[in-house]
Amino acid sequence: MAGAREIRTKIKSVHNTRKVTGALEMVSASKIRKAQDLMRASRPYARAMRQVIGHIARANTEVKHPFLVAREEVKRVGYVIISTDRGLCGGLNSNLFRKMLREIRSWHEKGVAVDVVCIGQKATQFFRRLDVNMVGSVTHLGERPQIAQLIGVIKVMLDEYTAGNVDRLSLVYNDFINTMTQKATIDALLPLPPSDDIASVHGWDYIYEPDAESVLEHVLTRYIESLVYQAVLENLASEHAARMVAMKSASDNATKAIESLTLVYNKARQAAITQEISEIVGGAAAV
């Protein structure tokens, strides 16, 4: 019965695994809701921000901010890459990184260098091994990310852009579509895409206090920050959703494994019993 014993231990260990994956699944399910609430709470700010930006685009701004001007020659591009801190979330990070790798390769073929800042442990670990210049990183944002945690990495990139080191800036994250679907997304951040409105139909302008340039700088920086923050929240919701799905399929697989192992165990046990009986009968017949 040596085989049966081994199988029994195996069954027990699969049982334990299923307990863990089941618990993780439930934890993620409740965290999705919280992450979605955060996403909802951050929307009014983004809406108000877009409104203000729209007004600015329509007004006769006397200065052209560098964030609004597209540069003709692109020598170096920047990416803000958002990933999770922890694993066990299916192919979420690897899909995102694969998409990013394609992008990096296509830039390298054109002879354009790539700068990245990484948000999240996984991206930091992945991109430090690549032929890209990692200029900033932040990890362990927790369940309630705050803008204050992101200011540093964003400023690093914006400074690079203002200094002319980076000519284009994009945001890489997982877009939360629904619980089953998350989409690896690359969005352009800078230069800001021109607004569709025909400029200055009204011919009015703001009163700027203290002056147009610094106010514009302030608005645009906050706008970029709010976009990155939103993407972080999207990615957080995606993480929990992906983890929930991954853990659910892991639990299902464990259940299947237990079933087939139990079958094997019963067969082994039956075989041992049969053998024992035939031995006894054989022994009795010999006497």
Binding site: L38, A41, S42, P44, Y45, A46, A48, M49, Q51, V52, H55, I56, A59, V117, C118, T124, Q125, R128, R129, M134, V135, G136, S137, V138, T139, Q146, I147, A148, I151, G152, V153, K155, V156, D159, W204, D205, Y206, I207, Y208, E209, P210, S214, V215, H218, V219, R222, E225, S226, Y229
Partner: protein
């Protein structure tokens, strides 16, 4: 009586939304009282109070740690910052982010040395095992 719409939002939550008689805030250049049909204006805010005079004459106070105020003829938008911001604080944050990246990059050598150590360990173990075997054969 004329009223003005007022939105106070921060990146992490909506703080206030409603109509007001007047909105009073601390702009970078001084106190601002925004009444309905104010000229379009945009300014940075200093950390301080935003007072909203409601229609019934009631007042509400909000504390903001800086931000922006935008005025359209019938709308006041306060985009409040959630964190205390200052140029040197931002710069310190940027330096931290850079340092973090450098630390992560430096970790690579650590990971490499761990792998090297593991390889050396495996080699030493193999040698020990060989020695053990040799000793046993010699005893016989």
């Amino acid at each position: 009586m004329a009223t003005i719409r007022c939105d106070i939002v921060s990146a992490e939550s909506e703080i206030f939304r409603g109509t007001a008689q007047m909105v009073i805030a601390t702009g970078e250049m001084g106190e601002l009282g925004i009444a309905p049909r104010h000229a379009p204006l945009i300014t940075r805010l200093k950390p301080g109070q935003v007072r909203v005079l409601l229609e019934g004459g009631e007042e509400q106070f909000f504390y903001v740690s800086g931000g922006m105020l935008e005025v359209q003829p019938n709308l006041v938008t306060v985009l409040a910052d959630t964190a205390i911001r200052a140029r040197d604080l931002d710069e310190a944050a940027a330096r931290n982010a850079k340092a973090e990246a450098e630390r992560a990059l430096a970790d690579r050598s650590d990971a490499l040395s761990v792998a090297q150590a593991q390889a050396q360990l495996a080699q030493a173990m193999a040698q020990l095992q060989a020695l053990e075997k040799l000793r046993r054969t010699l005893k016989r």
